[in-house]
């Protein structure tokens, strides 16, 4: 694995916000040992920060301390470095120490986004969920456009089984990032869990529309659904089942049930069959194909 490819992988991880700590640690350590971070300029410091966080995650605190020392020497009074020091503190010290450190910084500058987020994260981790939610709501009142914050709120509510509140938080996410099908999928699945099947089926079909509606490609019958489109079609199928079983549904969001339920069901069945019929790289059949075919073949009611 060459240095160039390692640095490219690190840059891709940074752009896509993935948390692949083991891989980042392996690639970053290679770059660190060849001390090539200095040659990259601004990107090199971002890579070093990424390596610090990955080494804390993986448990290699010696490498984390080394990287942190390099960064702190270069940027002495930076709030971003304060945040890294706080994270390093969280990993070994008891949570009260970290909370006190964050409280001190927030007293000096009460609008420090990164430190506030870390404080909320520590509160959630130590089980003070109500306090975490209150702080998070206060944070989101101040910084409305923070998508990460709304997603975290939705996650906290979902973990406490309050799916309606989770859906409300996700609706803010959808307002802020309307082009993102992943969040629509999350909202659809949350709606399904809170038994609002008409809303869920509408959202699943929106996900299909967003991810698969490429007019320049061939007719819909000829293209195979891939990725989260398959997950959305599974959701459509599940929703049609539940709507058909329950004649008098009450939808919390007052959404009306779809008119052509059987046709939707047939369409979902066909799309799932196509998705699982495509052969893999060596002509092998898709995993679970038999189970999927058997499941979609069961009748609607």
């Amino acid at each position: 694995m060459s240095l160039q490819s390692a640095l490219e992988r690190l840059a891709t991880y940074r752009a896509n916000n993935t948390r692949a700590s083991q891989d980042i640690f392996r690639n970053g350590l290679l770059a660190l040992q060849k001390s090539s971070f200095k040659k990259l300029g601004d990107d090199g410091w971002a890579c070093l920060e990424q390596l610090t966080l990955a080494s804390i995650d993986v448990g290699r605190l010696d490498i984390a301390d080394q990287c942190l020392q390099l960064i702190a020497d270069k940027f002495p009074n930076s709030p971003r470095v304060d945040c890294l020091i706080g994270i390093r503190m969280e990993a070994t010290e008891p949570p009260e120490t970290a909370l006190k450190y964050y409280a001190d910084i927030l007293e000096a500058d009460s609008a420090n986004v990164a430190i506030w987020k870390r404080r909320i994260s520590v509160l959630r981790r130590t089980g003070k969920v109500e306090k975490a939610v209150n702080e998070l709501v206060q944070f989101l009142d101040t910084f409305y456009t923070d998508v990460e914050g709304w997603l975290e709120l939705a996650d906290i509510y979902a973990s406490c089984n309050q799916y309606d509140h989770s859906l409300q938080a996700l609706s803010h996410v959808l307002l802020l990032t309307p082009q993102n099908p992943f969040y629509v999928l999350q909202a659809a699945e949350t709606a399904y869990t809170s038994e609002d099947f008409p809303l869920a089926i509408k959202m699943f079909l929106t996900v299909v529309d967003m991810t698969d509606a490429d007019d320049s490609e061939q007719l819909l019958q000829e293209s195979t659904p891939l990725g989260i489109t398959v997950r959305a079609w599974f959701g459509v199928k599940l929703c049609t089942r539940r709507i058909a079983q329950n004649a008098n549904l009450k939808s919390l969001s007052n959404t009306s049930a779809p008119k052509n339920l059987e046709l939707l069901d047939e369409l979902a069945t066909e799309r799932l069959r196509v998705a699982y019929s495509s052969s893999g790289q060596k002509g092998e059949i898709a995993k679970g194909r038999q189970e999927v075919f058997a499941w979609v073949a069961t009748p609607l009611v």
């Binding site: 896509n16 916000n17 993935t18 948390r19 700590s21 083991q22 966080l53 804390i56 995650d57 993986v58 448990g59 290699r60 010696d62 994270i87 969280e90 990993a91 986004v113 990164a114 987020k117 870390r118 909320i120 994260s121 959630r124 981790r125 990460e148 914050g149 997603l151 975290e152 996650d155 082009q179 993102n180 099908p181 992943f182 969040y183 999928l185 999350q186 967003m210 991810t211 509606a213 490429d214 891939l226 990725g227 989260i228």
Partner: protein
Amino acid sequence: MIGKLFLTLATLALLHAAYSTYEHLSLLKALGKPEGSLPLDIVYESILALILGLLGASLNAPPLKDITWASEMKKRTIDGMDSRLGFAHYKSRGKFLFASPRDSKS
């Protein structure tokens, strides 16, 4: 590869034409008629360098990327979209799972 080759040839041709012009101008100055016209072959060489350079730059361009959101979203994963790195917990089991044996003395 061909793009880079064309670009190199075009640069060399342009430099050569420039140097020839300079030499020609110094010749005219030496002969005492500083307003003579540029010989045609230098002009042709410059135009050839222009065409070759255009071809080389177009062929040397990196592959085009899609501009629609849908095509960008096809490359992302659910884990990437849901990572919420600002709120991530760094006190995890990673310390015990991934530490090498000599670190586990504590």
